[in-house]
Point group: C2
């Protein structure tokens, strides 16, 4: 009577799913709106940086040849013939023993090839005309930032798929990217199923609970970099669910449902996939929590059937939906970043299947350590709030002890990993 599903290893499940990854699309946004988006094209230097030779310090621009004989016993005097702030240019061509008073960032006047910092020059006036003298020599290029020193025109400076951070924002401005090519945010449709669900603003009644999964997944979708299109909650009624899913699927890039995917008496998603004509890629994964995670595809579009159990739902999203979304954001490392950490406490349970334990990792003396962030019953949402990682305990292993090395997946990290981990 009970449907028997054959669990497949998580690696196989991910691989099977990634065959249906979708390409990202580009849209152009104003540079004022590009922070936190993902570059959809390489960032290329559109000019040299700096694009002219310039003074990196306040001082006097001189011809180094004129300083050759300067020494402690032989100060050399220069007539100061111009005064340049940043952004200004000198119309003068500098001749023998002439200098220009120059500010940081200003363009080197024609003829000059070194900057004497204020600290090593003595400035004075003679009959209202400014002069300065120095007691040491300078070489060509001393204290000059040369054109192209930082970047050469045409260089690829940042690869597409990179998250735009404040430093990249500065580069976009430097190179005149007033309009920035970024990955269009995928639109992820979301339904919650379950007769037991109340809205957030409804009073609790016996047997019913407020719909928390939709709000959690909506935040996970945003964290990943996509847009959530929430279609509401559905009762456990087949026809209602079928029509809603079919209609929504046409309007989104990916459709996520929570609940209704197991083998319970009111779990209608399997029948909905069948009636839609969708191909179920798998409906049971050898992992805990989230073993009932089901992924189907219809005409190349993915349907994610996540568990109604909060922890299983959370884990299912991060392992499966995240990489598909990140691929659409041009990431080459779309999976959760995997690292090693030292377990801080005993974990006495055996792991017949690969287990993903919601955990809090911290850094102690430069080393990662990790501890489960709450009781590990899969219906406990509390442990999700403090979780910044998922500890991976491989299937077939026995209990773990404090001090053991384990692998963890970082939830708040943007760098990501390739697959297989």
């Amino acid at each position: 009577m009970l449907e028997r599903r054959k669990p497949i290893p998580i690696g196989d499940a991910v691989k099977k799913m990634m065959e249906y990854q979708l390409d990202g699309k580009t849209e152009y946004v104003s540079i004022d709106e590009s922070y936190g988006r993902f570059l959809s094209e390489d960032l290329v230097a559109t000019s040299d940086v700096p694009h002219f030779d310039r003074a990196p310090y306040d001082g006097f621009a001189v011809r180094s040849i004129d300083t050759k004989e300067a020494s402690l016993n032989n100060p050399v005097e220069f007539k100061v013939v111009d005064h340049l702030g940043a952004g200004l240019t000198s119309s003068k061509i500098i001749k023998d023993y002439e200098a220009v008073r120059i500010m940081t960032g200003a363009m080197m006047p024609e003829g000059t090839d070194a900057v004497v910092m204020f600290e090593v020059a003595k400035a004075y006036e003679k009959n209202g005309t400014p002069y300065m003298s120095i007691k040491r020599s300078f070489k060509k290029g001393d204290n000059v930032s040369y054109r192209g020193e930082d970047a050469k025109k045409g260089e690829v400076l940042v690869k597409k798929g990179t998250l735009i951070n404040p430093g990249i924002q500065a580069m976009l401005a430097t190179f005149g990217y007033n309009s920035v090519p970024v990955a269009k945010k995928p639109i992820i449709g979301l339904f919650a199923t379950g007769t037991e669900l109340l809205e957030v603003d409804e009073e609790l009644v016996p047997g019913k609970i407020r719909n928390s999964n939709s709000h959690m997944i909506a935040a996970q979708i945003q964290r990943t970099g996509a847009i959530v299109q929430y279609y509401g909650k559905l009762p456990d009624v087949f026809e209602t669910c079928f029509t809603a899913v079919k209609t929504a699927l046409e309007k989104v890039d990916i459709l996520i449902t929570t609940g209704g995917v197991s083998v319970g008496d009111f779990d209608y998603l399997p029948a909905i996939y069948e009636k839609l004509g969708a191909e179920v890629l798998f409906n049971k994964v050898a992992m805990r929590p989230g073993s009932v995670t089901t992924i189907a595809q219809l005409q190349g579009k993915l349907l994610f059937g996540l568990s109604g159990n909060p922890s299983a739902c959370y884990v299912g999203f991060e392992l499966f939906a995240r990489p598909i979304i990140r691929k659409m954001l041009f990431s080459t490392t779309p999976h959760l970043r995997k690292e090693k950490a030292i377990l801080e406490v005993d974990f006495p349970k055996a792991n017949p299947f690969t287990r993903f334990v919601r955990s809090a990792f911290s850094i102690k003396e430069g080393k990662l350590s990790v501890t489960p962030s709450g009781l590990d019953k899969s219906n406990i949402i509390m442990s999700l709030s403090g979780a910044n990682s998922l500890m991976i305990l491989p299937g077939g292993t026995r209990s773990f002890k404090a001090g053991d090395e384990v692998e963890i997946l970082l939830l708040e990290d943007q760098a990501g990993s390739v697959w297989p981990w």
Copy 2:
């Protein structure tokens, strides 16, 4: 002729500034807009979780007393008198040797105190009436999630000042926080000064560069959790700058300027502070880059005068503006998070002043390692794009070698640190 400023240690500078920290304010936002905001009040459990005894698995709810005699040789039979999906309640009071078919999440029917999972029950029909039998006994509470097991009403579950992540989002929904108290985002005014600055969409001309600092700082402000109010760029003309700064200051929580703060001939900020009647807390910090970082206060409002040099500007923002903003977001750890890491390459320069080197840290075999993210000339914006940390090389130290342990500040981390580090 050259103004002499006395540098103060960075610790003293931060301490002096933090005396002017401002309190945060609360605003209420819809739960749909609360992801990524900072809680301005503790998140309190408004009910027990679960708020009724419930089945954590699909199975049969029974009275454990009726299972007492069940064994391999003595199967005990139950009449299945009801069928409960999640969200439904039974009107029946369960009597001797009666059972209710129950789905995960459904409320335990009155009289029952254990759940027999499908896998260990044999279900069948007799004359159209459903029955099931078991061959083992169950104790009171077996496979039951009890009311209050996860959280008790009134418990503080998340402290104010915490960034709302997907797990907290789920908790907010569970406890009916349809409207969420979050820290109002501070409004940070921003000016760039410098005659050399072009807008992003302007063509390059000799001597001028595009204004990259404003876009960089705008992104840093957003990363910190505040709103930027950009007032444009100002030429190096005293009266224009003075009027603009005075007017803007009235409309924002904090005012940041970039450039014009050094001792160059066209650096007008010091004179502007004086004319405004603002008290300069310090105008020189014993650090590189960013030594000219100047902070002034006027009637309790802070003015940040950051260097026009991109790297100095970046570092100055993170060390000084960030903690002030994070305090307004109710953070108890408002400073950049400090950790230890192993230096991967030699750093041959001596450090007369504490140096903050833009760096990329990575994790190798569970240990943090760090490498400068570019050449360390302070006018190189390129190195900012790959930077996820600032390496701290304390003043008075000589060169560092690969393998040395150093301290780093994490730029993309949300946890933060207290001060002193």
